[in-house]
């Protein structure tokens, strides 16, 4: 009995001291927020996905330029989780980092519901509107002219294709000639797919990865998508949406797709096991392809110009006005999105600059990708970037797009009739997104 008793007491003491220690540790941690580090200002950044500032050495560089600044950041890989937390914190107006990143699919929602909680970045020191592509600048602008975020990168699209498979199917494999196949438009891309399907010896290999990828590219290359300029939802009556839906479901029904979902494990496996010959690829996806397709497929991939310039993805850096170090945070955000830094990020990590000035830098315009058989990625993506239309964005663009993509998968994966799938998609959007 006695020993048992002693042991319990000792373990209680241990537990209590552990809790005390933990409390102390967190207390110290919180201190670092302020000026605990010998008068240094600590800036907290909320990032997501792959925003490789740390990897590109930019934080280190900034800290050595500004010895009184210390940079800390968190970067959850899933944007959905990140945005959920950001929304909760915006609603409570507390717990926000000094700089918060916002994805392009969300920027209009943040601008329209929370603009008052952010500082005007157009007035931040060192920010020149002319450095950015005009449409990128406009996307973060509120009705009263306030600009809440500075553009980081954009995602001009091109077509990544397997040149060895094209050759096997009797199609041209040189990137200029491949681009000529679909010079007329996205119809040409699907036509090439039909030829590929007819002549490729292995039925296990599809022409494109997903039908929703095609839809996504088509809709991104049109000015009007889901909203009109007055903020009205118009996707049901938008001919371009109908056209994109029709063509991508046609491709699905013709069996040109590998029936996968982008960013699923099976899609990644599709790259490494050579299951499909083309994928519509924004600049940032080239890193994903070379990573997933692996050493074994090096030099087999290539990049061709797309039928039309279009954008997919890209982000903004915002500075919430409730922060403790608004001025320092604005300076850092301006520096991170300045043309020089954007050019560095492209050269090192493949994030395409949203700054027209950075696009002209030799390390951008002259860039090539060794993995893609030395394709002139700088030139191809720059050309795509300059032909990106000024698109009208709306607050629920991301959610509408997700639902339409899912509707296409109803045809592709479940074998539903396209008309039925469209009806149920519209119904879901009315209920879940706009309702």
């Amino acid at each position: 009995m006695l020993t048992v008793h002693k042991r319990t007491r000792r373990s209680t003491a241990l537990t209590v001291s552990a809790i005390l220690l933990a409390t102390l540790a967190t207390a110290c941690g919180d201190d670092g927020d302020d000026s605990g580090d010998g008068g240094k200002v600590t800036l907290n950044l909320g990032l997501f996905g792959t925003m490789p500032y740390e990897e590109a050495g930019l934080f280190e560089e900034y800290e050595s330029l500004h010895p009184d600044i210390k940079i800390k950041y968190t970067s959850p890989s899933d944007e959905q989780n990140y945005y959920r937390t950001l929304q909760t914190r915006l609603a409570a107006n507390s717990g926000l980092a000094d700089i918060q990143a916002v994805e392009v699919g969300r920027i209009r929602e943040v601008v329209e519901t929370h603009a008052a909680k952010f500082t005007d970045m157009s007035k931040a020191p060192g920010v020149k509107e002319g450095d950015w592509l005009p449409w990128k600048w406009q996307q973060a602008k509120a009705a009263d002219g306030k600009v809440i975020g500075l553009g980081t990168d954009i995602g001009p699209m091109a077509l990544c294709y397997r040149k060895d498979m094209f050759a096997k199917a009797g199609l041209p494999s040189d990137r200029e000639q491949v681009a000529a196949l679909w010079e007329s438009g996205w119809d040409g891309y699907v036509e090439a797919g039909k030829k590929f399907k007819a002549d490729y010896p292995d039925d296990g290999v599809a022409f494109m990865d997903t039908a929703s990828g095609l839809y996504n590219a088509m809709i991104a290359s049109s000015e009007k998508q889901y909203y009109d300029a007055d903020g009205k939802v118009i996707y049901k009556d938008n001919d371009l949406v109908t056209k994109a839906w029709d063509l991508s479901t046609e491709a699905a029904e013709a069996g040109l797709t590998a029936k996968l979902r982008q960013f699923d494990t099976a899609w990644d496996q599709g790259f490494s096991n050579s299951r499909f010959a083309t994928v519509v690829c924004p600049a940032w996806m080239t890193a994903h392809i070379s990573d997933k397709a692996g050493e074994a497929n090096k030099g087999k991939w290539d990049i061709a110009a797309p039928p039309a310039g279009a954008n997919w993805g890209g982000s903004f850096l915002t500075v919430p006005s409730g922060g403790k170090h608004v001025k320092e945070a604005q300076e850092l955000a301006a520096w991170l999105t300045a043309p020089e830094q954007q050019a560095k990020l492209f050269a090192k990590n493949g994030l395409f600059p949203s700054s027209s000035k950075a696009m002209e830098a030799p390390e951008v315009s002259g860039a090539t990708l060794e993995y893609f058989d030395g394709a002139p990625s700088g030139k191809i993506f720059s050309e795509s970037a300059t032909s990106i239309p000024v698109t009208v964005l709306g607050p629920k663009d991301g959610a509408i797009k997700d639902n339409v993509s899912n509707g296409i998968q109803l045809v592709e994966q479940q074998g539903k009739d396209p008309d039925d799938a469209w009806k149920s998609t519209v119904e879901t959007i009315d209920k879940d997104v706009l309702g």
């Binding site: 409570a92 029936k259 960013f263 699923d264 099976a266 599709g270 994966q413 479940q414 209920k431 879940d432």
Partner: protein, 323 residues
């Protein structure tokens, strides 16, 4: 036994000291015998009120409003609108059906297999401790890790099961796309994880069955199978009922497996919602689409379903006891 001490009458209070004033004595007596018991149970009720009752009522309150995650400070009173929308939505009924069917195809084989396993483990075995630990290992694996591995095993293009079927000339099955195939796959994950756990519960109950019953039945000439049916199973009846209730509650709340099995379509429960359970529907509405009011209504619906299950359980227990 812990229960016997609870029923013991408390020791008589120490004889009051004769020179203490009477009023003080009665206060002390009151503190000791009237107030102290309440003070002892107070922590539980305080914690339950803060983390059980309050969230429950607050969720109910939220479910009567239109609330979006991003603008939680702007609430609009909508009365029972969220409930009528929910009941008028096909997806709610689909999710309810899916929850039920996945529940049945996971719980029934799971408990039958657990009973069989427990029976086998109840024999004198070499290294019995090893086997007992071995069947519990799936339970010790995290839901996420287990599900992600099973998602690969059930993969369409490169999954092990399709590869195995291919050996027998069966063409590859798109497990995730089909309604029944996906539900079978998810039920497999649940069964894999919980069979060992239930088997151990049955085993513990089996070992409490008096040996005399077996001896008596053996003298009467009962075979092993007859012993199992006529002695073991009847003695286990309360335990079986307990595991059925616990598994049913678990099945009603099924969430992690379908969510992670579906990859990027997990929150929809598949492209066509073919394996969306109530838990996943709640998650999709609240944390995918940010409609907190609607999610709260679904949460309350699930709560009421669980209350109904508990009531049915109580009823059956009473009937069994009477019989």
């Amino acid at each position: 036994m812990a229960t016997s001490t609870l029923t013991d009458t408390p020791a008589p209070p120490p004889a009051p000291e004769s020179h203490a004033p009477r009023r003080q004595r009665s206060l002390r007596y009151w503190l000791d015998f009237r107030a102290a018991p309440y003070a002892y149970v107070a922590p539980f009720f305080a914690v339950f009120a803060a983390f059980g009752l309050y969230p429950l009522i607050y969720t109910g309150w939220i479910s009567l409003h239109e609330v979006e995650l991003g603008t939680q400070d702007q609430r609009t009173w909508v009365g029972l609108d969220n409930y009528t929308t929910m009941l008028g939505d096909d997806r709610f009924w689909k999710a309810l059906t899916n929850t039920f069917t996945i529940g049945v195809i996971s719980t029934v084989p799971q408990l039958l297999m657990a009973l069989g396993l427990a029976h086998l483990l109840n024999y004198k075995l070499r290294a019995s401790a090893f086997w007992r630990v071995a069947i519990l290992t799936p339970y010790a694996t995290s839901v996420a890790a287990g599900t992600l591995v099973f998602a690969l095993v059930f993969g369409r293009d490169f999954g092990m099961i399709n590869w195995f079927l291919d050996v027998f000339g069966v063409s590859p099955i798109d497990w995730e796309a089909g309604r029944w195939t996906s539900q079978i796959a998810i039920a497999t994950i649940v069964t894999w994880r919980w069979t060992g756990y239930n088997a151990l519960i049955y085993l513990a109950a089996m070992q409490a069955v008096p040996n005399e019953l077996y001896e008596a039945s053996a003298i009467d000439g009962a075979s092993r199978w007859q012993q199992f049916r006529k002695v073991t199973v009847p003695s286990l009846r309360p335990t079986i009922l307990f595991t059925i209730v616990v598994s049913t509650i678990g099945a009603t709340q099924l969430f992690g497996e379908p969510l992670l099995f579906g990859g990027t379509a997990g929150a929809r429960g598949g492209t066509d919602g073919q394996y969306q359970t109530l838990g996943v529907l709640l998650y999709q509405q609240g944390w995918g689409l940010f409609h907190l009011g609607r999610a709260a209504a679904i949460a309350w619906a699930m709560f009421l379903i669980l209350v109904a299950i508990a009531a049915v359980h109580a009823l059956i227990t009473r009937l069994l006891r009477r019989a």
